[in-house]
Assembly symmetry: C2
Homo-oligomer: 329 residues x 2
């Protein structure tokens, strides 16, 4: 099949269920916490706040849209990047259909997640439960890290030449950004593993930090990942040829946008990911790289699922999935 979402993105979709749930994590109990006096009602009166008690921590949120007549054996599961949530995969910042909708159109059940401590997954008191505080992404950092334009060009909102991110909607992207903790990789991987054990196997489509998690996950539960698509992963685990043996042969697709040479950290993440891909390829595993500029598709930012050609990039993924064993019923 060769999808053209420009034709189908506005078709109706018949669904049998929209279901959501939290999974993973544990209950922790706080005791012997000092009672705090805090203003907790609008009227400005301080009242005692007691942190002592039990909390669920380390859980994630998943939203599963099921088609009445899916055309593929496994769902597509989306993992977002750092400072983001499952909103990444919903409507684009300028109001076009997001990848959640496009993959439903393509006949896949779709699972969208909010990673541990992001969005609807909730987060826990610090330093009482989390040991450190969160970090926050400014508009300025998003502008440069998502490669909309050079940091110095933020004030003037002058994007890179040929930029495909809808720059006039940049503030709608900034409104999606959430705080994140940077020392929770293990907790996050544990929750994602619990999710895969519940609903897997899946086709895993992961962005940025989510790509880093995905490339760490395929070795943990290879039987639960039918294929993996990493869109600009924020690095990859260092892979030795002896690691590859136990990985099975999970088809890997790597997608890269434009302007990577403009941002040193992206050059570094790209290099680490290339090493991972090359070790897989040398072992004869199924790998495919889509370097969009090399393919003649110029101007994509770090968030191609939001760029003006987001539907075309989705179609590249859908077509690649269709070639993989297990992708079709």
């Amino acid at each position: 099949m060769n999808v053209s979402f420009s034709k189908i993105a506005r078709q109706n979709v018949t669904i049998s269920e929209i279901t959501s749930f939290h999974i993973g994590g544990d209950t922790v109990e706080l005791s012997n916490q000092p009672r705090l006096m805090m203003r907790v009602a609008g009227e400005g009166m301080a009242r005692e706040v007691d942190l002592n008690g039990s909390y669920v921590t380390g859980q994630l949120y998943a939203n599963h849209v099921k088609l009445a007549a899916p055309r593929h054996a496994e769902p597509v599961m989306f993992w977002h990047g750092g400072a983001m949530t499952g909103v990444t995969w919903e409507t684009t910042p300028d109001g076009r259909p997001g990848w959640q909708w496009l993959f439903l159109q393509a006949g896949y059940d779709v699972i969208v997640t909010d990673a541990v401590e992001r969005g609807r997954a909730s987060w826990s008191p610090f330093p009482q439960i989390y040991d450190t505080g969160p970090v926050f992404r400014t508009k300025e950092e998003a502008w440069s890290m998502y490669r909309v334009g050079a940091r110095s060009s933020y004030a003037a909102r002058e994007p890179y030449q040929g930029q495909r991110f809808p720059v006039s909607a940049f503030d709608a992207l900034a409104a999606q950004l959430v705080p994140r903790w940077t020392t929770h990789d293990d907790m996050t991987l544990d929750a994602y593993q619990a999710l895969l054990e519940k609903v897997g196997p899946v086709h895993l489509v992961a962005h940025s930090q989510g790509g880093w998690f995905a490339l760490n996950m395929v070795r943990r539960v290879p039987h639960l990942v039918r294929s993996v698509v990493v869109i600009e992963p924020a690095g990859a685990p260092r892979l030795a040829s002896e690691d590859v043996a136990c990985m099975g042969d999970i088809p890997h697709l790597f997608i890269w946008g434009d302007f990577i040479d403009e941002v040193p950290s992206w050059k570094k993440y790209r290099a680490a990911t290339d090493q991972y891909r090359e070790v897989l390829a040398a072992a004869g595993k199924q790998t495919r790289e889509m370097d969009l500029p090399v393919m003649g598709i110029r101007g994509n930012s770090h968030v191609p699922m939001m760029d003006d050609n987001s539907a075309d990039i989705a179609a590249l993924v859908v077509d690649w999935l269709a070639q993989n064993p297990g992708a079709a019923i």
Copy 2:
């Protein structure tokens, strides 16, 4: 119409669009913030964290599911309660269809929101942008405040006699709980008003703290609220008869569960809401109270949309909506 969701809840639903967006809030800029050294990568090395820059703050998140063939002129918009998110209206903790799905089944487009600083709405650094820190709801507090059982009965998980909340799934409810700030009423109302101005008029269905927000909103934008359903509102504004004149005649439905006399704060919230309702009624406005135990429906907790008869309570709301002007196309 008299809905029986037990018959239809498993039918397919044909949708034309799932769209989401953030709305409301402003950009604030932090400057002259000291740079912090923080461990931000998994490897344990501290790096400099710079909070200086621009942030969107005060926005909320909305998710709008549109039917291919809605049977009503206005959508239903759901507002969740304190320490909760839009997940309130999705799948019940024990895995049954939530009100989002049931109201789609009933022919309404459905808008689910995450209030300012909850869930996917994101939250801002404190004390740099928010002046105070958040409060957290423990399992023990949820057990008693949601009237599953007496605080003293939490450890043994002994619910009130006849309890309809699915007690074996209590931890799934606890996993949904999020931190909240308690001094953000104005910011939250401003964002909700911006949302109503974008998508209104709507039928507003609001729970607990969301009910408090809803009863404060109807006076602000009466032309954007076709009807309002408040499920156990956490209080109501004090209404004087002269206030009623400018409120138009928005049909109000008030729903109360069981065991309210067991929890003093709920008796207080109930009394404030009764005063509001009685002033409306005395002025000849359309009000309806459903005191479920008085109607012979015993055992509902503070979260009837999650209780074992959640579909029956939804049907009561759907039937009431069907009687209101503007509810049907």
